[in-house]
């Protein structure tokens, strides 16, 4: 089934960057299957992980000639051909880190879907409209846990604030655009620039934290992600994990 959108290379990069972020955050979230802080949260977090991977698939499908090619695109590229940000490549092995990232990433994700919902390309705005309905719940989930922990005082609050402060410089770098983003905006692929979305994101995050008595300065983004072409030190391990099954038989059809 032909699914590929007729996109310029710049437009393709913009969509690919979002798809890769959704794919890898979903993959990282799944590490919590069976390890969540309590049963209900374990199920909820992994359900969200599945949603994110679903979002990634919906975007990848618009970039391939045949839906059967999605696995190859998602799993088997050279690291340099991914356009993920480093925030989604981080392991976040502790729950506080995973929750902090969930909030920082999903606040950004909601804004990126909004920008894509206003795309001039109907297929993209349709995918975005569907994702936004789910994303509202993801965000409510993150915010629900984060605000309660921040209000709880004591160790829970301190651990979470520490995680947020540690992750912020990596999170801010999520707004590093792919090369050619300006051209993609001019073509109508996406409605808003990463820089503009990043401003709104920071306002939201700072307000959320301030409401719960946490004052943070806007951090400088970690260096090294210009154009989203370089992978972090954590990518190789993550790619090895997500390739475990397909490497057994790259031509298997499901």
């Amino acid at each position: 089934m032909p699914t590929r959108l007729d996109l310029s290379p710049a437009g393709r990069e913009v969509v690919l960057a979002f798809a890769d972020d959704e794919h890898l955050i979903g993959a990282r979230h799944t590490a919590w299957i069976g390890r969540g802080p309590f049963l209900e949260e374990d199920l909820a977090f992994c359900s969200i992980a599945q949603d994110e991977i679903g979002h990634a698939i919906a975007l990848y499908e618009l970039l391939v000639d045949d839906v059967d090619d999605v696995d190859h695109l998602a799993l088997l590229r050279d690291p340099a051909d991914y356009r993920s940000c480093w925030l989604v490549e981080l392991p976040c092995a502790g729950w506080a880190d995973a929750l902090a990232r969930h909030q920082l990433y999903d606040s950004a994700e909601a804004l990126r879907w909004e920008a894509l919902a206003n795309s001039a390309i109907p297929e993209l705005s349709a995918v975005a409209a569907r994702a936004r309905r789910e994303e509202a719940f993801h965000l409510a989930h993150a915010r629900g846990l984060v605000t309660r922990l921040l209000d709880s005082g004591g160790e829970g609050r301190n651990t979470l604030v520490d995680a947020i402060e540690r992750l912020l410089p990596t999170a801010v770098a999520l707004w590093e655009p792919v090369a050619g983003e300006r051209a993609a905006i001019n073509e109508g692929v996406v409605a808003t620039s990463s820089a503009d979305l990043g401003e709104r994101w920071w306002t939201e995050i700072a307000a959320l934290l301030a409401t719960h008595g946490v004052a943070v300065d806007r951090p400088s983004p970690v260096a090294g992600q210009r154009g989203r072409t370089a992978r972090s030190e954590h990518f190789a391990g993550l790619q090895a994990e997500i390739r475990l099954v397909i490497d057994l038989d790259p031509d298997a059809r499901w």
């Binding site: 309590f38 049963l39 209900e40 949260e41 199920l43 909820a44 359900s47 969200i48 719940f137 409510a140 989930h141 629900g144 846990l145 309660r148």
Partner: protein, 98 residues
Amino acid sequence: MNIYEVFLHTDGKDEFRHVGALEAPDDELALLLARECYVRRGEGDELWLVDRRHVVVGSRQLLAPNQDKPHRRSDGAAIAEHRRRVRAASDAPGGGTG
């Protein structure tokens, strides 16, 4: 954390059914968690959560005296049992001819 009993309504003519329970710190989070734990495959179109502390519980002692009153049952089981006994008695060798 509070425990909530979860009820789902699946279609127009059915009543809400109890599908399980969950643990959550408050009502708002309970709804979000219930959505992901019980309705992620569209298992229902309406959801009730009942804080277990608000459930009025009848004790076993309250119910025990009524456990053995088959004559109050409306399913015909008592009459069926009576007729079965009569039939068995009449079929037995040396039994009456009715």
